[in-house]
């Protein structure tokens, strides 16, 4: 065999391996991510219950319904509670990540305890906190033992004025450790020489944070902020499990899935999904611009 032939068979072999190795992953990606997306856009122009063989084309009526009836877009208000919650969560996570970077006793224990909730099954978390918030439950017991009269305590999951605070704090409890571990990974990658130089120069901890840690992990902080915004818009699991959207705790995603699978208005639900994705795309675009602007 000449060298030329050898090369051509190698090229041929490469082609074969590329195609066979990518075939299944790409098929799965296309069938379960891109095809649903195209279908969803298509369904959003139809009136359809998801099972009937006939779909009725109604143009933009689904979108019109969503934008003219306040009950749909109002759902985004619930996201605000989670959004504020996640900003608080990021600040606390940043504090603990910084602090756990110091020489402290039992720091792995504290890190582990704060992080572990992130690994717990969402349904288990939901139930644990239904038990925590129920009347005469853990929170009521703790607060009455501090001398607060039971009659002054609200129904934490039953009062529409309180429920979203309760649920958003469950979300903070669950995801705080995730942020903390990400920040602490980023902080650990800052060169120790920098701290040493700073402490020789007499920088205190706040100055160290401000001038060394913060600039080095700025990118991961902004990434987490963007993820927090996306997360707050697409909150679903905690309200679904704990209240099923009752007492004003429903969210846009919860309402979307209810519209599709309980009310069986697949067309309308698809239009809601499209709107949600558009919002997420806008946020991602802004994020990209923001990062590119920063790096330039």
């Amino acid at each position: 065999m000449t060298l030329r032939q050898k090369l051509s068979t190698r090229k041929y072999q490469q082609k074969i391996i590329i195609i066979t190795f990518l075939l299944v992953p790409m098929l799965l990606l296309i069938i379960f991510t891109y095809l649903p997306f195209v279908d969803m856009v298509k369904f959003s122009f139809f009136k359809w219950n998801g099972t009937s063989p006939t779909m009725k084309f109604i143009g933009l009526k689904n979108y019109k319904d969503i934008f003219t009836k306040p009950e749909y877009l109002e759902m985004f208000k619930t996201s605000l509670y989670y959004l504020i919650g996640s900003f608080i969560q990021i600040a606390i996570a940043l504090y603990f990540a910084t602090v756990l970077n110091y020489k402290l006793r039992a720091k792995n224990f504290f890190k582990g305890v704060i992080f572990f909730p992130y690994l717990i099954n969402g349904v288990a978390i939901g139930f644990a906190f239904m038990y925590f918030f129920r009347e005469f439950g853990t929170l009521d017991t703790l607060l009455t033992s501090l001398g607060i009269a039971k009659s002054n305590l609200p129904l934490w999951l039953g009062n529409p004025k309180v429920v979203n605070y309760s649920l958003a704090s469950v979300s903070v409890w669950r995801y705080l450790g995730q942020n903390m571990v990400m920040f602490s990974g980023a902080i650990a990658s800052v060169s120790p020489d920098l701290y040493e130089a700073a402490s020789i120069d007499g920088a205190n901890r706040w100055q160290q944070f401000k001038y060394i840690i913060f600039p080095n992990i700025k990118i991961i902080i902004s990434l987490n902020l963007i993820l927090a915004v996306k997360g707050a818009i697409s909150v679903f699991e905690i309200p679904k499990i704990m209240t099923d959207g009752a007492n004003g705790s429903s969210t846009f995603v919860l309402k979307t899935l209810d519209t599709a699978f309980t009310v069986h208005k697949v067309g309308l639900a698809s239009a809601m999904g499209v709107i949600l994705l558009l919002i997420i795309m806008i946020i991602t675009f802004v994020q990209k611009r923001f990062f590119e602007g920063k790096e330039a």
């Binding site: 072999q13 490469q14 391996i17 590329i18 190795f21 990518l22 299944v24 992953p25 990606l29 069938i31 379960f32 991510t33 891109y34 095809l35 649903p36 997306f37 279908d39 969803m40 369904f43 998801g50 603990f96 602090v99 110091y102 402290l104 224990f109 504290f110 305890v113 704060i114 572990f116 690994l119 099954n121 969402g122 349904v123 288990a124 139930f127 644990a128 038990y131 925590f132 439950g137 853990t138 017991t141 703790l142 409890w173 995730q178 571990v181 990400m182 990974g185 991961i220 499990i241 979307t256 899935l257 599709a260 699978f261 639900a269 698809s270 999904g273 994705l277 997420i280 795309m281 991602t284």
Partner: protein
């Protein structure tokens, strides 16, 4: 100066202890509750210890009547198939992306990247039609096939490793007459072991904790996985908190054991996924 330092340390320890308490108490009361009888749970305070720590009747009830035993069996079945599948799709994609230059390389990686920006939960109404159309609704394969694909984070984790494996290893194997497939599975897979471990843990936790996929695609009670078996406690055990508590502890236990054993890998896996994103 010295004094100020210790006051700030005191504040740090205090903040750590408070937050550790906030993390632990909601779970601790569940553990306490799980050993109480129904009558005891309603008549004693949440922080009062159970009269009898050997009272495991709630656990038996949760396991047997609550179908959690079945839930574990189904979860294990689904996890076994989907983890093997996602590791295969992930390593194959990463291998091709790392080792070969081809026309659609950029497109392939962008397609995975864009997919990661879209929360799949928002498209379930159309995904449902596809799964149903394939005849997979109410079979374990619905969940397995949805878990089987790979994602950009796994690909990045594998790529980080593959990029550090010298091409000369591939070259010399080719000289010895090895095919690309042999190189992939005789050389690359063993070298990728630490990355495979990381992805396995991350995916394992994600799949085990996933609630909505099995809830939506496998409503049949015989197909309950851990999440959905526990979720169904809401109806029949709605007022029997002691059984729900036992169910919560049972569900948490595997994650807890995993965490105790593999803490380091879990932390590094989480940062590996985050930094590249």
């Amino acid at each position: 100066m010295k004094k100020k330092f210790s006051i700030s340390n005191l504040f740090i320890y205090l903040s750590l202890i408070i937050s550790a308490a906030i993390a632990i108490v909601p779970l601790l009361v569940v553990l306490i509750g799980s050993f109480k009888t129904g009558e005891e749970l309603n008549s004693t305070g949440v922080l009062e210890l159970p009269r009898n720590f050997t009272n495991i009747s709630n656990y038996v009830k949760a396991f047997v009547d609550g179908k959690m035993l079945l839930g574990f069996a189904n979860t294990f079945f689904i996890l076994a198939f989907s983890i093997i599948a996602t590791l295969l799709t992930g390593t194959m994609t990463a291998y091709v992306l790392s080792r070969f230059k081809f026309k659609f390389r950029k497109i392939v990686s962008s397609l995975f990247l864009i997919a990661s920006l879209v929360p799949s939960i928002t498209m379930q109404m159309s995904t449902f039609q596809i799964i149903n159309g394939m005849g997979l609704f109410n079979t374990p394969w619905s969940t397995i096939i949805l878990f089987a694909g790979t994602d950009i984070i796994s690909i990045y984790i594998f790529l980080q490793f593959l990029d550090n494996i010298s091409f000369s290893i591939d070259e010399s194997a080719i000289m010895d007459g090895a095919s690309y497939f042999t190189i992939f599975y005789r050389l690359m897979i063993p070298l990728l072991k630490p990355a495979i471990m990381t992805v396995l843990i991350l995916k394992g936790v994600t799949f085990y904790n996933d609630f909505y996929t099995p809830y939506l695609y496998m409503p049949k009670p015989e197909l309950a996985v851990i999440s959905t078996a526990l979720f169904r406690f809401k109806g029949p055990y709605g007022t029997q908190w002691e059984v729900i508590c036992a169910g919560v502890i049972i569900t948490m236990l595997p994650a807890f054991i995993l965490f105790l054993l593999l803490q380091k890998q879990i932390y590094s896996g989480m940062t590996a996924g985050a930094v590249k994103e």
